[in-house]
């Protein structure tokens, strides 16, 4: 069995229909477990107090904001090289989910920043590149809506996605590139010196798993919708010609 079989829209819908209930169930279990564990059963940080509880939503959403764009990049490259409609539609389906993740990361970052840094916002390299990434998400979605022909829209949005990837990568490594600003370095580093304590680390891992699964569930569902919407447009166009 080849991976490319899933480029067939019927096969994609049939397979994801079978998988989706399991993904939704696992998403619910891991999100509820991770968030309840993190919020109710972890101690305050000795320096940041109870604001450390924001980590269970801020880090997973920031991670997904970047990785959603990277998933869109891979799907766009598949479209450019192999012209599989499902991959272009999967990229389109992922964009609003990625935008919401970016917005959550920005909002929770502001709520966390205010008591810790004394400001809601700073033109810090990581914060700024995240804001630009959010604007790229909005532009990407607007471009899909603005162009009537699906193939042309897929071509142009794929190019935009390639350009935006610079900011997706930059938002991950901005802290390393420019050693300045307020934002800390990697939270999930495996370096013992830099890494967070296990008491925060384990519930955080469960929350990350929950956010990843939620992303997968939403992208499957939304890609099915985009495939059906495309077929509806094609059938209506045929009826109009007849």
């Amino acid at each position: 069995m080849s991976f490319w079989e899933y480029a067939n829209p019927v096969k994609f819908i049939r397979t994801t229909d079978k998988v989706l209930p399991w993904v939704w169930a696992l998403t619910g279990i891991s999100l509820v477990t991770g968030l309840v564990w993190g919020f109710f059963f972890t101690p305050d940080d000795f320096r940041q107090g109870s604001t450390v509880k924001i980590i269970y939503i801020h880090v997973p959403s920031a991670l997904m904001a970047i990785n959603a764009w990277l998933m869109m990049l891979v799907a766009s490259l598949i479209w450019i090289v192999r012209r599989h409609h499902v991959s272009a539609l999967a990229a389109r389906a992922a964009a609003p989910v990625g935008a919401v993740m970016t917005l959550i990361a920005l909002a929770t970052g502001a709520f966390w920043g205010q008591p810790m840094w004394g400001t809601w916002w700073a033109w810090d390299p990581r914060l700024t590149s995240f804001l630009i990434l959010f604007l790229f998400y909005l532009g990407y979605m607007a471009l899909w809506e603005a162009i009537e022909n699906d193939d042309t829209a897929a071509d142009l949005t794929s190019i935009l996605c390639l350009v935006g990837s610079v900011f997706a990568i930059l938002s991950r490594y901005a802290v390393n590139f420019w050693n300045q600003g307020l934002h800390q370095g990697a939270t999930l580093s495996l370096d013992k010196e830099e890494n967070i304590s296990d008491v925060f680390w384990f519930p955080l891992l469960v929350c990350i798993a929950g956010f990843v699964l939620l992303f997968i569930a939403l992208v499957f569902l939304r890609t099915q919708t985009e495939i059906r919407a495309r077929r509806t447009r094609a059938l209506l166009a045929r009826e109009g010609q007849a």
């Binding site: 509880k53 924001i54 205010q114 939620l214 939304r222």
Partner: protein
Amino acid sequence: MMPDLGKYAFAVLSSYGVTIVLLAVIVLVSVWRARKVKTALDEIENRRGS
């Protein structure tokens, strides 16, 4: 049961509130649109089939 969030209660609760609302919106909108589009396609296919 509710942990004592102290002077940071606003920051923590607002963060969780915004996150829950935004996640609920994207999930509900996605499910609603999925149902709407599926119903519309089924109608067209049934019309063409009959």
